[in-house]
Symmetry: C2
Amino acid sequence: MNLKIDQERLISEIEALSKFSDAEAPAVTRIVFTPTDLKARDWMKSLCRDAGLAIRKDAIGNTFARWIGSDPLAPAVGTGSHIDAIPNAGKFDGVVGVLGGLEAIRALQRAGFRPRHSIELLVFTAEEPTRFGVGCLGSRLLSGTLSADAAAKLIDKDGQPVEEVRRKAGFSGDLREVKLPAGYYKAFVELHIEQGPVLERERQPLGIVEQIAAPASLYVTVEGSGGHAGGVLMRDRRDALCAAAELILALEHAARSTGAIDTVATVGICDVFPGAINSIPARVRLGIDVRDTSLARRDRVIADLEDACRKTTAQRQVSIRSELLNADAPAESGPEIVATLRQACEKHGLRFLPMTSRAYHDSLFMSRIAPMAMLFIPCRNGYSHRPDEYASPEDIARGTLVLAETLAMLSE
Amino acid sequence: MNLKIDQERLISEIEALSKFSDAEAPAVTRIVFTPTDLKARDWMKSLCRDAGLAIRKDAIGNTFARWIGSDPLAPAVGTGSHIDAIPNAGKFDGVVGVLGGLEAIRALQRAGFRPRHSIELLVFTAEEPTRFGVGCLGSRLLSGTLSADAAAKLIDKDGQPVEEVRRKAGFSGDLREVKLPAGYYKAFVELHIEQGPVLERERQPLGIVEQIAAPASLYVTVEGSGGHAGGVLMRDRRDALCAAAELILALEHAARSTGAIDTVATVGICDVFPGAINSIPARVRLGIDVRDTSLARRDRVIADLEDACRKTTAQRQVSIRSELLNADAPAESGPEIVATLRQACEKHGLRFLPMTSRAYHDSLFMSRIAPMAMLFIPCRNGYSHRPDEYASPEDIARGTLVLAETLAMLSE
């Protein structure tokens, strides 16, 4: 089989997709179910149609584009990722796995390959937690990790529930039917940029992910007492932002103190109410993300944060409540998929690094219903979720080649 | 002279004005030059017209409602305050001085008093810094504390300059002509809620302000390095929010360490960019307010903050820049106005407390062009700039009575 990636076309498609954005280039903002996201989906579907794929969508908007195999009833081999992007993000996160997955299929078609198992490209809805606070909404539902009832009730910043937003965006049907039946997929493989510095540092072109770290996210809300910035004496204050500042630093300290490089914790959101320069903050909401490859270590960081909340509550006479949005278990890759990825690399004479993904992905949830593995390519300086996120055309093409080879082996 | 305050009418007018709001009652939000603010101004002007006052407005929208005295060319006696309100504020801040000022004039009219000096009610534009970052925009311009050029260039959150916003709101003319000529006012007296707990604690119905604390406000912007909350190791981070948290706590510590009760410092704004739960903060902007009755102490707090910025810059490899928005000198009340206020209290058998205003007011700037003093009434728990701000009808009426008496004495 003469497998050739059309690098030029793939890169130009990545560029084209980046134009569907609500931020000024080079930044990309593409929030799920916005007009911009819907336009990008339509464009994506037209590319899939051009490749002769059969398209269906489910009630949450996950898109399935299938190259039907010679045994159409056999479980499919899945690949894919997401195209939604957080505010002020880059061009490659998720997109490489979607457009790379499509190009892998086209390369197999051009090479005259004929799969026995169908090969299905997935575009997951809302991998990013931006709009509804929970990441991987689409794959959580597909895998049954999140119930349809719980999903329908999630609300966005404007208080609109998922149920309403998805219907307005044109996705009808019953959310309970999103969950895939057992044995739907034979395997799932996701190509993705690393979103970290390891491959670049180790000068390796490819990473084969053997486990995905366990993410947890929570909101912590501090209620203090507001008032006029001039009128209230320091000793009479219960300033919610000063209390929140202690929690921010306590969380950072906890994550740095586990002794493991894989522990990370981030306060990415700090909303201050009322938020006026001459008004004492009455309420602060922190959006917190904690991850580790070890569930025990991750939960210790969260316990340390809770200790800090208790201490600050007592010392500052504020009230603090926390709301766990999600706390997922880590995932192990399927050994047979990892082995296939290794063989594919070796067949093309490409080096690779066995590794851990500290970022989480739809594959974390796909692992609940199918043997899964991920293939990483380097990204410059490890940057992701920012406008200067970058993966080289050569690295993208290499990843796509190994993905195509792997899909061929798995679908034979 | 039989001076009687129509308490019921005054309180119902305060209630009526609170309905001009962009927040849900009891909260009041009335940002300068919004449609809501413009409607409130029109309503206010109709009340002044009903009282037979001659109305003019200047290029920044300050409104002057004059009861012309028997010597129309003599310097006027000014009173008044503001009706703009920060997000999620209460009903009384500023409003008591405007509607109380109007009721004082009406009470003098009803009592058959005939002033020699004109009595002028002022409604200042943008006492609150919410929209343009600088407090007392109207009185700064009136008093020549801020130049017309500097004022025109101030921008709001959406990047619109004052010059454009005020024209869209219907205020034309040359900003340079806002500055009042020397000797325009014989005296200026402002009635206001205390916005602090002193009068309530000391069980005093009235406070006569002898000095106003010196406010300074600044923006401090921390630039760190963003990235994916899962992908970047703790040791590789330059998290702008963790750095900002150190500054928030350092400022609080500095204000608490001066040894003086009058030192207060507040971080009321903390804007995080990009502000996604799974994204490391790349940039944080803090809006900071520092006040003291002593200029030296206040500047020492700012110097301590700058030390903390230097330390954090070095330790966290972030960059921090600060921008001073305003740093005003404290004001002393005019001894003759203070004496008149005391006499007015004594005439009506009312106790009073000589005091300092830690909040600042348009009177701070009016003091640059006329002898000034302020009259405070208690507010419950010292709360202000919040929906549960409250002053009792009796306290409001008492303040209005003393104001009316004072205006009578000063205008004779």
